[in-house]
Amino acid sequence: MSAPFDRRDFLRLAGVGAGVVFASGLPGCASMAAAPSTDFHFVQLSDSHWGFDGPAVNPEAKTTLKRAVAEVNALASPPDFIVFTGDLTHTTDDPQERRKRMREFKAIVADLQVRDLRFLPGEHDASLDKGAAFQELFGPTHYVFDHRGVHFIALDNVSDPAARVGDEQLAWLAADLAKLDKDAPIVLLTHRPLFDLAPQWDWATRDGDQVVAQLMPHANVTVFYGHIHQEHHHQTGHIAHHAATSLIFPLPAPGSQPQRTPVKWDASQPFRGLGWREVARHGAAEFALDQHAVKGA
């Protein structure tokens, strides 16, 4: 059930106090099941790219998301809610086809037994029409909600095809943060990394540094995002950033090769690198991540 976790990443995270992450795949660390006093937990699904067609990359493109839905439904303890951190659908130039893919995606995730679903756009959903179709079918591209003492912020860094959050949304974020105590627990959800993970692969947000600067005065902030189709863990100061796996194809490690080409399907290890995660809150800003691989059976 658990995916490998980079020990160096864990140690870096573990050294910062607030935002400590326990990874169930790491020997000696508390798993979600073993960790005491879970306040609540949610599930993060990301990058399902519904409509993608590439048999060499994923011959099970039409079943992978459905498998994940079934696996989430099979959890012994249902999550409080489920977040989708973008690229729900694969891009298309055809506005009608884009909406068709979004409707099909909605029909699939309607089978989730948990009814509290929170959607964010990715650039494949929103960059070609500035989020118009996404807003028609899923609602606002940025918003906030509160859950059991934690303030969640969904931030849109994809409706601008140049990957900017933009001045208007930055002002909205500043006004929202101004209402919070500096030690309030905050989770920021977004699609692209807010830091320069691999600019040569477009794995960045052009004004992400301004978002991070706004968050820095807040003591308990954790970021969950997608876009890069793999687990990745990074710190900017005291803020932890956790990237999620995809539900369509894995991508190579940041900057590890000249092109960011998808990792090809391995018939001997179907669904390798594809999955989703549970996130459990334990205390002020401690989150336990539990990675689930999509099963081939």
Binding site: T91, E123, S127, A162, Q200, D202, Q259
Partner: protein, 117 residues
């Protein structure tokens, strides 16, 4: 007409234009077309210390040019020429990419700027 012939003719005209510009003592102008989902040319060679102006056009949709290691960036709007003056101060092979999402194929739209000694 064969697409390769068109591209070859286009490249030859670029070389001629660049040669003329260099002979005038002005920065060499290098025309680059950004179309779905390729830069033409996608490999640009300059000499260290040579002053050039990269002149980008995009006949279809808004595109971007970004060479992060060189700090070069431009927004390429159809109907306009985006000019990027550049004098290389280090030898190497540097990645560039389109950093404005332009569709299915955007992720493979990139190239190299090669600086020779």
């Amino acid at each position: 007409m064969d697409r390769r012939l068109v591209l070859a003719g286009f490249a030859a005209s670029l070389v001629a234009m660049a040669t003329r510009a260099a002979a005038d003592g002005q920065p060499r102008r290098i025309a680059v077309v950004a179309r779905k989902f390729v830069f033409i040319p996608n490999e640009i060679t300059v000499r260290k210390g040579e002053s050039v102006v990269l002149e980008f056009t995009a006949p279809e949709v808004v595109m971007g040019f970004f060479a992060p290691e060189l700090g070069l960036r431009a927004l390429i709007v159809p109907g306009e020429v985006a000019k990027v003056p550049f004098t290389a101060d280090k030898v190497g092979r540097f990645d560039f990419l389109c950093d404005v999402f332009c569709g299915d194929g955007h992720e493979g739209m990139n190239g190299h700027l090669v600086v020779t000694a």
